[in-house]
């Protein structure tokens, strides 16, 4: 390889936020086939029904989400799929979910990511239904908020 080509590739890799020594690369996952099956406009409820001294000020609600992850371009590779949720201006928001077994159950705090799958990518589309519960601070949630969940994959480099 010519030195100039090698330098160009190094520059590109740095721009991509990775390094030639990394063992995995992160890519967004196409989940455009996912559907919120329950209500996608959740009216939150107070977690403590009765206001009292020391009561929690959190609110919660839950819904069902059919998740379809298009992993076709990484089929045959090893990878870890994460669900992500951007940090919210209304304060801490936590999502917890159970699954039917294809994906991992877990907990996700806004601004972080949580593992939903690890292992070989053996199918084009990874599909599961999540029972998704969302909890927020009831004293800071003053208007409707849009929570945009997405997925990304860490693919082990061959």
């Amino acid at each position: 390889m010519r030195p100039s080509l090698l330098l160009a590739l190094l520059a590109l890799l740095v721009c991509m936020g990775t390094s030639p020594l990394a063992t995995a690369a992160t890519y967004p996952v196409d989940d455009s086939g996912s559907q919120v099956q329950g209500s996608n406009n959740l009216r939150m409820k107070w977690d403590d029904r009765v206001p009292r001294h020391g009561a929690r000020s959190t609110v919660s609600a839950e819904t069902l989400v059919l998740v379809r992850l298009n992993l076709s371009q990484w089929q045959g590779r090893q990878g870890r799929v994460y669900m992500t949720l951007p940090a919210q201006a209304t304060g801490p928001i936590t999502a917890t979910w159970s699954t039917r077994g294809r994906l991992l159950p877990g907990l996700l705090r806004a601004g972080e990511r949580a593992l939903v799958y690890a292992g070989p990518i053996q199918v084009d589309t990874l599909e599961d239904t999540l029972r998704l519960s969302i909890q927020a601070d009831g004293q800071r949630l003053v208007r409707s908020e849009q929570l945009a969940f997405s997925f990304e994959i860490d693919v082990d480099l061959p």
Binding site: L9, Y27, N41, V50, H53, Q139, V142, S144
Partner: protein, 207 residues
């Protein structure tokens, strides 16, 4: 000669550019319902206490707080303890929070507004009158207490009425606030003989 990276290296970058626009699934969340409740005197509540699944109701009787001033006290000017017909137990848990003769006052404000607390206002809706004679409502004061826990700071503390309207308490959000009031007539002036009646309306206001 300088060359661009071959197609072999460009393809993964183009693929990334395409998938970067993937659509996330979106869930909208809306604030929980706001609510507020104030009971003065008997108030109204469902058959079960709040912590047993009961719910606050609208209505209830108008309780009376009264005193008969003995003749020998008219010129003495000593404060005269008044008695009330109020129900004494808390609707939070049924606990006997007040003692005989006291007036129960309590409630809550459940709000999504982190910047403001609800306030309790006492307004004179009809002055203390007996024909053309009047007694200023500011002559009526109260001492706050409660049976549990002993010595706790009272959320609706000791005070007196204003002659028109007066803010008498601020409710901490998402908390049950309750106190018992022992009323007193200050007896500061000699007034014409007779029965003086008036009405105070309590209002809980949340921002």
């Amino acid at each position: 000669m300088n060359r661009l990276p071959s197609t072999r290296y460009l393809l993964p970058l183009l693929a990334m550019a395409v998938v970067a626009d993937v659509q996330a699934f979106v869930v909208a969340i809306s604030p929980a319902p706001r609510s507020l409740y104030l009971r003065v005197g008997d108030g109204a509540f469902s058959t079960k206490d709040f912590n047993s699944g009961g719910t606050p109701q609208s209505g209830g009787v108008r309780n009376t707080v009264a005193v008969t001033v003995p003749a020998d006290q008219l010129l003495a000017g000593a404060d005269q303890a008044m008695t009330s017909t109020s129900r004494l137990s808390s609707d939070y848990d049924g606990f006997a929070f007040c003692n005989t003769g006291q007036t129960y006052i309590g409630g809550y404000s459940r709000s999504d507004n982190a910047s403001g607390n609800a306030t309790v206002t006492a307004t004179v809706t009809s002055p203390l009158t007996n024909g053309t004679d009047t007694i200023a409502f500011s002559q009526i004061r109260w001492v706050a207490s409660g049976n549990d826990p002993a010595g706790a700071v009272q959320p609706i503390g000791s005070n007196n009425f204003g002659d028109t309207t007066k803010v008498i308490a601020t409710f901490q959000r998402n908390t049950w606030n309750e106190s018992c009031h022992n009323f007193f007539y200050s007896n500061d002036a000699v007034v014409g003989a007779g029965i003086y009646t008036g009405t105070i309306t309590y209002t809980l206001t949340a921002p």
